[in-house]
Structure formats: structure tokens, C-alpha cells
Amino acid sequence: MNKQYNLNKNLAQMLKGGVIMDVTTPEEAKIAEEAGACAVMALERVPADIRKHGGVARASDPDMIKGIQAAVSIPVMAKVRIGHFVEAQILEALEVDYIDESEVLTPADPMLHINKRDFSVPFVCGAKNLGEALRRIAEGASMIRTKGEPGTGDVIEAVRHMRMMNSEIARIQSLRKEELFNAAKELQAPIQLVEYVHEHGALPVVNFAAGGVATPADAAMMMQLGCDGVFVGSGIFKSGDPRKRAAAIVKAVTHYKDAKMLAEISEKLGEPMVGINVYSIKNEELMANRGY
């Protein structure tokens, strides 16, 4: 792959051990930066509100994204609909630092994701399992995140996706070389990427947790499961005390293995976001099922 792709993977490496926070205004972006976020995701409505309001969710107003770019010095990410390559061209023109081709927005293509190799700007994509992750990487994604179930404050789906990823990676590692061709067929992923996983026991790009993280303990749990860092969407600005909660989740990601520290960090954070139990959501309304 080309030099720019490597540089894009490198930026994701710099975000590791950090928290990427959803923000909807320059003021929220400042709060996130001051709390120690390693990047912000600029969007008009957090997933919890998108879920509540329904309708078609699209990429944000460029003016809103520019406002957030001007407010902070950390990397600014923004979302486009699955398959919507023109929304991505627009974000590239705005020079956002990372594009999230996201199932949180309403998909724009019934079959395809964006051919991300056409772009210089880096992309992060969601994945429920290894096959999905490798397909996104083949299309040019330089960072992966679990899908989880966005806007719920329920971490169970993020855990499911990370555990699935880990067990599938372990299975690929245990295979004999000649078995990899069949594994590639089953995963619907390119053989070269399956061979990479077999050799290294890891994805070739950074893998973050996302979708339902609401507490420092949720974030630390995802880190202990092997994630490189954490996205928090609605979990911060839908909680009682965003400033405090944001800083606490940042600390929890640094000290994810230190239970004593986590106990201290988790104290007196105020109300978490209310949340929706994933099992109470109708199957056709699950965001994690979007994408191919």
C-alpha cells in the first residue's frame, strides 16, 4: 500500500490508549479536549438523539465541523453515511483528520461501502467480527472499531463484537497454512489479510471499542478485552456531569488494569446516561446490523 496509507495507520497509533469523544458544539469540543480526549468526533446529534428522533441521519453541516476544528488542537473526526463517497469527498475537502464511515448514520448504499483507497484522508470503520474488519481494511480503512450498539449506554454488544474478534483471530492463528484459503472464503476477506492475522495474531490496524460505553468501568473492560482505545458517543454529554465523566473515562483507559485506581476514578461522577437495554430494541432498528 502507499505511503499515505501508512501515515494514516500511524495517526491511529498515536490515538491509542486514548478516548475519542462525540461532540456537537465547539463548547463541548473544548470540554472534551480539556478532559484529555485524544480526538473528537464532530456530529450534529449524538447517537442517542439520532435513535430518538428517527428519520434519515446524514453527515453534519460543514460549518458546524469547521467551528469544532477551530475550537480545538486535537484531531477532529467526522461521520459519513455507509457508502456515501460524496459526503466523504466533502469531509476530505474540509481536511478533517479522520472520517468515520458509520452505521450510526443512515446507510446511503444498499450494497457497498466507500472505496476508501480513493482518498488521502484516513477512515475508521465499525466491525462486528473479523470478516467485516478485514473487508473494511481491504477497502482502505486504516483503523477499526467495534460497532457495539450506539446510543444505548449498554455495553453488551461492544463486548460481543470484541470477544468475537478475539476468538476469530485466535482460530485463524491456530490453522495450518493451507487451511487459510478456506478461512478466507468463509470470512469473505482477502487471503493476504487473513495471512497477516495468522502470522501476527492481530489486525494490521489499530482496533478501538465503540458503541455503548458509558462508564469508566465499561471503558476499562473494553481495554482489558484487548482494545487499543475507546470511542464514547452519547455516554458523556448525555450524562449528569459531562466534564467529570469525560475526565474519569480518560483516566480509566490509562489505568485500565489497576482496580484500586478505577475505584477512585469511578467515585461521585453523577448520573450516567439513562440508557436503553439492547434487547428491548427491535431487530430492524439495531444500528450494528447496518453495513456489509
Binding site: 500511524n10 495517526l11 498515536m14 490515538l15 490508549g17 486535537i74 484522508v121
Partner: protein
């Protein structure tokens, strides 16, 4: 065996740990001030300087780290690490550790789309060209009298040294080349040597 600390609050610390271990040294991930006690040198990795700066304060590691550096412990800041060490940032009132007499411009090249890689010879470090990877990188806009310029790219200062403090705007930990790490470890060895002489 010499122990090299790698600040592990946020960022690409694992890549530094791997390089240190490949060169036959022990790497210690530093997350608390206690972790600073038993190390012979420390690397401040790339990542987000605002995030690391905030965590250094919150975990009360700033003062002990400054003291260690002032007492001569070798330190190497890559990218965000360089920002942490700088005495002054351009267009930004923030000062993190403020121990090195340099003025640094953050995101000096612009956004991610301006990130780049070049191969250049840095005489002090290697006879051959080595890959220099710049990710949303800073550079140095002014050097104090005590600070030695090590390398510039296109007229911008990207590597410098002031006694026990080394800074690079680029990321040797992201490449397969170990020359920069070997150079820093030499600084650590030399420092340990002078300490030994002092104690004798």
C-alpha cells in the same frame, strides 16, 4: 541491565517498548510517579500532548518527572513528547514540563493530510539515510543557547539536544530502523557512567 521508562499515559508507547526490548534493554511502562523511581532514562512518546499533559497533572507526576530530568536523567521526547518538554509553545500559553529551552509550534505542518515521510541522513545518529515519519507533527521555531541543533528538514528544526534532553518531531518508533533508539541508549549509558564515577 539498564531500565528505560516509557511514559504510558496515552499514545504510541508500546512501539517504543518493543524497540527498547529489541535492543536488549528492559522497558518499564510509566503510569504513576512511583514508576519513575527505578529507571535510568525515559521516553515521552507520541500521542496527544493535551491528553498526556492533563494526565501528568492529575496523577501528580509532573513535579517528580521535572525533578528527575533536572537532576540529569536522560529523556527523549518524540513528537508530543517534544511538546511536553518545551519551555514555550507558539500561539499557546500552555507549558507542560517546561524544562527544555526550545519554542515549539504544534501541528506545525497542518492537519493529517499534511503528514509525510522522508529519508534523510542525520550525521549524529547514522551514516545512512533513515526514515523520518511526521504525523501532525510539531517543529522547533527557536532554540536557546544551550541547545544543539541535530537536524532540520526543509529549514525547520526537527531534532535537537540540550545535555540530557533529546527531542525529535518525527517518530523512529514507527519504522523498522533502530538508530535513533540506539543513539538515545548511548546517552543513557554515558549518563550512568558519569553517575558511577561521581559515586566513586
Amino acid at each position: 541491565m539498564k531500565k528505560i521508562g516509557v511514559l504510558a499515559l496515552q499514545g504510541a508507547f508500546r512501539e517504543h517498548v518493543e524497540k527498547i526490548e529489541e535492543l536488549g534493554y528492559q522497558a518499564i511502562e510509566v503510569r504513576k510517579s512511583e514508576d519513575l523511581e527505578d529507571i535510568d532514562g525515559i521516553i515521552l512518546p507520541g500521542g496527544e500532548s493535551t491528553a498526556m499533559g492533563r494526565l501528568l497533572s492529575d496523577f501528580r507526576m509532573k513535579a517528580p518527572l521535572i525533578e528527575k530530568i533536572k537532576s540529569g536523567m536522560p529523556v527523549w521526547g518524540t513528537c508530543a513528547g517534544m511538546i511536553l518538554l518545551a519551555k514555550e509553545l507558539e500561539d499557546d500559553a500552555t507549558v507542560h514540563l517546561g524544562v527544555m529551552d526550545i519554542v515549539v509550534k504544534r501541528n506545525a505542518y497542518g492537519r493529517q493530510i499534511a503528514s509525510f515521510e522522508v529519508d534523510e541522513v542525520i550525521e549524529r545518529i547514522s551514516d545512512e539515510a533513515i526514515p523520518l515519519v511526521f504525523i501532525r507533527a510539531p517543529y522547533i521555531v527557536a532554540l536557546g543557547q544551550e541547545v544543539e541543533l541535530i537536524h532540520s528538514v526543509d529549514g525547520n528544526i526537527v531534532a535537537a539536544r540540550q545535555e540530557n534532553m533529546l527531542v525529535t518531531a518525527f517518530h523512529p518508533e514507527l519504522t523498522d530502523n533502530k538508530k535513533c533508539h540506539a543513539y538515545f541508549l548511548k546517552i543513557v549509558e554515558d549518563f550512568a557512567c558519569t553517575q558511577k564515577k561521581k559515586s566513586v
